[in-house]
Subunit: 423 residues, 2 copies
Amino acid sequence: MKVELISVGTEILLGNIVNTNAAYLSEKCAGLGLSCYFQTVVGDNEERLTQALETAVGRSDIVILSGGLGPTEDDLTKETAAKVCGRPLYLHEPSREAIGNYFAGRGIEPTDNNWKQAMLPEGAIVLENHNGTAPGAIIETESARVILLPGPPNELYPMFEESVAPYLASLNSQVICSTTVKVCGVGESKAETMVKDLIDTQTNPTIATYAKTGEVHIRVTAGAEDKKCAGKLIKPVVKELKARFGNHVYTTDESVTLEKSVADLLLANDLTITCAESCTGGLLSARLVNVPGISEVYKFGMVTYSNKAKRRFLGVKKSTLQKHGAVSEKTAEEMAKGAALESKADVAVAITGIAGPEGGTPEKPVGLVYIACFVKGKTTVKKCQFSGNRGKIREAAVSSALTLTRSCVLEYFSKVTFGKKES
Amino acid sequence: MKVELISVGTEILLGNIVNTNAAYLSEKCAGLGLSCYFQTVVGDNEERLTQALETAVGRSDIVILSGGLGPTEDDLTKETAAKVCGRPLYLHEPSREAIGNYFAGRGIEPTDNNWKQAMLPEGAIVLENHNGTAPGAIIETESARVILLPGPPNELYPMFEESVAPYLASLNSQVICSTTVKVCGVGESKAETMVKDLIDTQTNPTIATYAKTGEVHIRVTAGAEDKKCAGKLIKPVVKELKARFGNHVYTTDESVTLEKSVADLLLANDLTITCAESCTGGLLSARLVNVPGISEVYKFGMVTYSNKAKRRFLGVKKSTLQKHGAVSEKTAEEMAKGAALESKADVAVAITGIAGPEGGTPEKPVGLVYIACFVKGKTTVKKCQFSGNRGKIREAAVSSALTLTRSCVLEYFSKVTFGKKES
């Protein structure tokens, strides 16, 4: 089945916001085995929205509109869709009640405009909104199914997951399932080369790689008559990918991030962690603290940006800084050791580098970063050369630090060299 | 003049990448006074691209296509545009030479495919690519101007700046200029209310508000015969906005971020800063370290996530934690004071809160955050209640901490109450 997206919002046409909803919806539809051939963005304008919607209904089986369900006069997605589909609006009592409750719970008086959101196209399937006042709707016409979703991502995402995804899945005689194999410590092009033969020869399941900062995600998607059969198709491919990438695979669970996998690994081995950061300025700590419940393993971290701070709080030797410089293997090593000593943590990760745009030299160019990881007495230092702007370099350094931490902890416990199974 | 964007790329339709090019081009076009009414995304498919391009040429004056200029068989934007515009492709000698030089400079042998990129539509204006091998092109037809740009942002952005922006500006008899007034410490709806009368009555310049995390940006845009005249139209409006928002205006320079304005303020007053963070886990330090050259004012920061760390490294009293809890005004205050004492910085900012999803109680719900700012002996504490998920709460806390720091430093030096001019 062909699906088409129409995002409604003048703020997208003005470039004020990036159309992340379209990327989200496209990815979800692809995961459900639906082919998306067109994405369109139109402003809050009845004539142009009508034109876009009529075109879409004429060439696609499913049209998903997002945005323009708000209470103001500018919001006219529902009104326009109702007209194009020939379904007049009526007051949907449960939605009116839900809107009333929403405002009552917040102690706010709704304005007259707000009740407009309870008006829905006749015969439409109404989609409850648990995170806002705009209900969604599915209008089933002879030529297409038109789905109306609110624009704010914190309303759209849950509504899609709860109501739209099951609805779309039910239209397909096939069940589409996918598993994502998340890989760290392998570059994008190397990862692609390592799976190229699989991508070229497989048709069901299909295999696709997605490059993320410091990571590659490999998605295996299968269509089958039921979940169990799809799972059977996926399983051997995931097994093959795990064999090829070895310990570089940090999870096959969609919801697990790299920082979460590191946190879980520390938790499972009863280890605490500390960070001593220079150029990343707290980003590594902040990423670990992204993980809810991190307090069991993360207690304390330091941002030692100046040389003085590196000496005073981490005990980096004056002679080290003079001889090797702040961005050096030796300084990184002393930072990690000092952080472990100071915080009494089992694992200490240190980052020191040149994030730019200034400060680079021919010997130590912008993007040069040393990462040290101390695990119960043993310190490993990795030299990295990243490219991009200040922000990109710092992000890449943090991802590499998480990858190094994971490999050092794994090595400490298993004495298995990280990535050994790869060859 | 009406402009329309067509982004070509199956990876956008699959949701693998977010369409940031469209946001970039839309914002640039709006800045040039061009109205963008439609954005379309199509895959690398001749039939559907033809359909999208014919529709666009039929209703818009300028059509900007991005992507699909690569050397592979999948790349067919140029071929399709040439067909739709009735301009056969020919070998453009200077482009062939540039491609040859590009590869020679990198010591790589070009493949046969690469020469395809030197084929250009007859009569087109050729746009040089200084960052890749795909030249861009402008095809001027009777009905519309069709502009072809490469997809990679590091090629598209400079080509737009260098060649397309001056071309589009030359089509307009008017010059379009804008100034952004950046405001912190005022909520979105309050800011909108404060400028509603201006928005409703002004036509040139126009005024638009953009909500950012913890900030509101107000863009004033004027069209005039030349830059000087546009500036004259903008100036009184910016003055009026400054009068209304007082010290809440932190810059009118597009390139200055909130953290940069704080860094500049500290630098100008010869003050150093430190951060002691709990729930934000290093994000505040990381945002300050975003600013190149921050080392003059930022030397050291701490992430004291556990109560033990708060006691040991910041000297927060055991009795304070027992009586008031880690998330309290008193703890925030002691954290800031302790951080200042430990680091010897002039300014110390502390954040302690409940970022969720767990840990909330009826008395201290998720989103409750205390921010303390110490400036040379005087400590100010602010209680905040944020909403959203863990990430949103932490981001909002960091923005509020920057805003509080700014206001406390301003107050210290001027003894002017922050935002006094507002009433």
